[in-house]
Subunit: 334 residues, 2 copies
């Protein structure tokens, strides 16, 4: 455990003569001026400062409860995530307090307060709302996928960038020449954004002109996808693309259904790869909805629990990315 | 709240001069001899006995935690059930402790002990293991679907019998003449067993020869279903049935896939109705996997929470059945 005299981020800022935000940026690997970086690094060295935001929060008096904040358990990815978090916590003698916070921001702050008041040992958060400003330094927390500015929080995610690349590589390997990317994204920044970066990188590498539908998540997804398909038809009704990398399995499935309604065959005319690895009825043997870049849910959840419960200081920067894999799900030629 | 002098089931047994199990049976509506029933009913009247098993367990010192014991959150029905239980508890100021107990019976008894020790206010259990003998009279508990012998426990379920009837009625309405029933069931008795009774009743009512596949749940479901199809083909390869009522959406979907692999068209050649109302990706707007008899998950979960948290004595017998509805999901002609 950390002694009471352990230096804080504030001490580092004071020693370095810079703003607290600058220290946070350096620790998070966000660019600052070389001069400031050197000052901060020197101060960290002088004070023997360890990043320990969440470790400090682990009080000796334990409740053996850990709260999971998640939008819902209806979405199959969230459902699997919840199941594996529960299992990983159980192995460590911890019980899971479940908070389905979608649409009720007050719920998330309620649970953050439980952590502040030692009613729970810590929090694992998979959230798309803007709780960053409510997370104090005292709260032991690990976040999945999301990124909160100016908060040194251990984060876990899949290697989304590599996943974006892999999707394009697979589509090309299976004979596609014009893979497009479609996404409906959250307004909040997160690791999943890098799926697009991976797509763009792979296109550039293979000298392919990128082409994508990139829209904030909304109720009009179907209408927007339909007009994307319409805008990509030539006079003979042929499509300008022959491969689709969808940001999620859900949107990949939706897009495939629309293509089929328009008379196109999947995978013969257009191949589709989604992201997440969602199985029908939840079990691997039931098969996927679409061919997919699969997130390693079990390993991701175990890593979240391991980081939350670890006593020592966390490594810097506290972002752990785990590898994804391609799995055939009927909507590709391989 | 119940006063300390409230008569117990033991008092009733003593007053009636019968065994405790006999009192339990009468209260649960399980047949006993007329003589014993009269004795018990007289004793209940004389003592002014009220069934209050779970109400007695609600101690004044509340944790505001309620544990949900469920096999997993991977199965889409369990996932939706968990989500709605969390929401219903939140409305009552309670937090959800989630126990995914599948395959680990020890976990269930751990959680029952939490209730005994007042670490949780009560338990909602959707379980297919044999925890009946561990449930003491002191534990405030509501069970979904399951039935435990010799335990007076408030139970909530869908009206499975009516659902079985409705499935047959719908298949006949859509032109089927030979509806069969297929199920892979748990070894533990529960309300879901009545789906078969409903099927048999409706067949009898409409003078249809019942025909079914009834098997304990196992890994060989696909093989067993395949041979059922094979055994129902005549020399020309025509099927002896034109409608299927499946015990769950999952098995309905699996059976449909096998029929299609065999070259039969669904719903043109064979119509399929499942049970549960499971939506692809979890949301109603995403559509069902198969046409289905839908369980009212939201109302079921609210009823569980209401019964668990209610202070007064529960009605006798403590079994609440909520109505199901038919919903089109693409595998029927209507």
């Amino acid at each position: 455990m950390i002694s009471k005299k352990a230096p804080t981020m504030k001490d580092v800022a004071k020693e370095a003569g810079v703003a607290l935000g600058t220290v946070s940026k350096v620790i998070n690997g966000i660019p600052v001026s070389d001069k400031n970086r050197e000052k901060v690094e020197m101060a960290i060295k002088n004070l023997n400062y360890k990043v320990n935001t969440y470790a400090r929060g682990l009080k000796t008096q334990k409740s053996n409860l850990v709260a999971l904040i998640i939008p819902d358990t209806i979405n199959p990815f969230f459902a699997a995530f919840t199941d594996h978090i529960e299992s990983a916590l159980y192995k460590k003698g911890k019980k899971l307090l479940l908070c389905c916070a979608d649409g009720i921001p007050q719920k998330e702050t309620d649970y953050l307060n439980l952590a502040t008041n030692n009613k729970v040992d810590g929090i694992i958060a998979l959230t798309y709302s803007d709780i960053g400003k409510y997370i104090s330094q005292d709260i032991p927390i690990v976040v999945f996928d999301r990124f909160f500015e100016n908060r040194v929080i251990p984060r876990v995610a899949s290697d989304n960038f590599a996943g974006g690349c892999l999707a394009v590589e697979k589509l090309l390997e299976f004979g596609c020449r014009h893979p497009v990317y479609i996404r409906f994204h959250s307004v909040f920044p997160g690791e999943a954004d890098k799926r697009k970066d991976g797509y763009l990188y792979a296109c550039s590498k293979h000298h392919i002109e990128p082409d994508y539908l990139d829209h904030v998540n909304c109720d009009e997804a179907v209408t927007i996808m339909k007009s994307f398909i319409e805008n990509h038809k030539d006079k003979e009704g042929n499509l300008a693309f022959d491969g689709v990398f969808a940001h999620t399995d859900y949107h990949g499935y939706l897009f495939m259904e629309l293509l089929r309604q328009e008379g196109f065959r999947v995978p013969e005319d257009v191949q589709v790869i989604g992201f997440d690895g969602i199985c029908k009825f939840g079990n691997p043997q039931d098969g996927l909805f679409v061919s997919s870049i699969c997130q390693p849910v079990e390993q991701l959840t175990e890593k979240c629990v391991e980081l939350l419960l670890s006593d020592g200081p966390s490594p810097v920067p506290p972002l752990t990315l785990l590898p994804v894999t391609y799995r055939y799900g009927g909507t590709t030629k391989g």
